[in-house]
């Protein structure tokens, strides 16, 4: 996205904003899908992401890459979604003052999935049951193909932390595979 288009977006040009949506929608939707493991939620979250971008684009001053800024908003929106889910879960369970923890997401339902092979389904399922930080790391790196540096910037943590999270995530993935190997072939 060139500076000229960005300036147009910042001045409220809707046609220029459309170009931004066009360019980033696929990544935003798929990061959200990686985080939320649910198609409808992924689309809803992506809508919210672009609304926030539209509202706040005036504050973007180019200190980071535009994509980094957009993915950071995506991460925040997804975290909000997950927080709301947790609140619903804890309300359902009627647990007052329940300690904050990562609740594995079991909303993933293979029958509605976009995954085509058994292996892909297993991977998606494994990701959906990881803690959020591992889910995010593996989604950004392995599925979206972002660099360590960009992920570190999005997550606001050192590159070393990104690497160790990825390593832990892959370890979990491997573990999940070993446990479910009988489903394969």
């Amino acid at each position: 996205m060139d500076d000229k288009t960005l300036a147009k977006i910042q001045s409220g040009d809707r046609a220029a904003f459309d170009l931004l949506v066009e360019e980033y929608q696929s990544q935003v939707i798929n990061i959200a899908y990686g985080m939320l493991s649910n198609r409808e939620d992924a689309y809803d979250a992506a809508q919210e992401v672009f609304l926030r971008i539209y509202k706040n684009i005036g504050n973007f001053r180019g200190e980071s890459a535009l994509s980094t800024w957009i993915f950071r908003i995506t991460k925040n929106v997804c975290m909000d979604f997950l927080r709301k889910r947790r609140e619903l879960v804890s309300l359902d369970a009627d647990e007052e003052n329940a300690p904050r923890q990562d609740i594995p997401d079991h909303r993933y339902s293979p029958e509605k999935s976009v995954e085509r092979t058994e292996l892909q389904r297993l991977v998606r399922q494994a990701i959906s049951q990881m803690e959020e930080k591992y889910r995010l790391a593996i989604t950004l790196f392995d599925i979206e193909g972002l660099s360590y540096e960009e992920i570190a910037e999005i997550l606001d943590c050192p590159v070393g932390t990104v690497k160790s999270r990825l390593s832990r995530a892959r370890e979990k993935l491997k573990q999940f595979f070993l446990e479910n190997r009988e489903h394969l072939h």
Binding site: N30, Y43, K55, N56, D80, K84, E115, L119, F177
Partner: protein
């Protein structure tokens, strides 16, 4: 390299993150170890699966729906912008009003203590009175002396009023100033055989009125002032206006912040109303100056979290000393959080963190 050593490095090997030397060592080991080869195949399979995961494709309805929401947002947007500018303007005018009032309080108190020669007056009070105030007070005294004949007509009435005014003023001075209020002279208890002095004291005492914030007391004194036809009486409505404006600005700021936080981030802490009233009271009594720090919406929660380490949280704002505030801004910088702020210089500041 044995199997255990190689296993630890296999992930890095699969992701091409080992040095040339280590790579060679691993490959050498793999040639002779079918188990590790199997492990490598397994890891590669996971990696490739991750890299080729099917993607959700944006549906047509996604754009249509988004455009509808953007249309709605665009309708609301201009209103919001106007409000922001308005808020800024009012914030600055409120701060200016506070400053003017602070100066007024200071000079009125000095004038007050200086103009009546109370025998027990502390010498250090005289030192606090600056030269400008002395000159002004002298001029005022001269002007009032010239009006003595009219004042004489209402001498007995004045004595009664003076007592009331003095009591009211004494209370206000205690509220407003940190200077010792007990040292304020009390001409009202002077015997009535000194009519000239007590009559001339009336206008000077009522001078304190414009600095007063307590509405009821103001109106009570105001009635008295009108009867005795003090020329400075017309200052009062202005001071009342200022006070009202300060409150309105504070309320507006709080309300605005509330709207912003709820609109921009649903997880933001609610209940910002009430912060405004508190801040205006604090600003007038203990000179806690109010301001906002604006950060990018995505940084708000972090900036708030950092702020909570530097001062005491009250309502939606954090109170801290000027030094703490400076440190706080430095920490924001250190955390690469971009900010703008309109927090004025003061011993104590009350800071609210809002999204830009």
């Amino acid at each position: 390299m044995n199997c255990d050593e190689v296993r630890k490095l296999l992930e890095d090997y699969v992701y091409d993150e080992v040095s040339f030397l280590v790579r060679n060592q691993i490959e050498e080991h793999l040639l002779s170890c079918p188990k590790c080869r199997e492990e490598v195949e397994f890891l590669k399979e996971i990696k490739n699966t991750l890299h080729t995961m099917p993607r959700l494709e944006p549906e047509e309805s996604f754009r249509t729906e988004l455009n509808k929401k953007l249309d709605q947002l665009a309708k609301k947007q201009p209103e919001k912008k106007k409000r922001k500018i308005f808020r800024d303007w009012r914030t600055y005018s409120a701060l200016a009003a506070c400053l003017v009032l602070a100066v007024a309080v200071q000079s009125q108190i000095s004038k007050n203590t200086d103009s009546v020669n109370f025998p027990g007056m502390q010498p250090d009070l005289v030192h606090e009175t600056n030269i400008t105030n002395l000159q002004q007070t002298e001029k005022a005294n001269a002007a009032e002396d010239a009006k003595q004949p009219t004042a004489d007509d209402v001498v007995t009435e004045d004595v009664r009023k003076e007592t009331e005014i003095e009591d009211a003023n004494k209370k206000k001075i205690e509220q407003i100033t940190t200077q010792p209020a007990e040292e304020t002279p009390k001409p009202a208890v002077q015997p009535t055989d000194e009519p000239v002095q007590s009559a001339s004291a009336v206008p000077k005492e009522t001078d304190v009125v414009p600095t007063d914030y307590a509405g009821a007391a103001v109106s009570a004194v105001q009635e008295e002032t009108e009867e005795t036809a003090v020329p400075q009486a017309d200052v009062e409505p202005a001071s009342l206006r200022m006070q009202t404006e300060t409150d309105m600005v504070a309320a507006e700021t709080a309300e605005d912040a509330g709207i912003q936080t709820t609109a921009d981030s649903p997880q933001a802490v609610s209940g910002s109303s009430g912060g405004g009233g508190g801040s205006s009271a604090a600003a007038t009594k203990t000179a806690v100056l109010y301001g906002t720090v604006q950060v990018a919406e995505s940084d708000v929660s972090k900036a708030k979290e950092i702020a909570s380490r530097y001062g005491t949280q009250s309502a939606n704002a954090v109170e801290m000393t000027q030094k703490q505030f400076k440190n706080y801004l430095n920490t924001l910088k250190a955390n690469a959080i971009q900010y703008n702020h309109n927090v004025p210089e003061g011993d104590m500041v009350r800071v609210e963190i809002v999204a830009e």
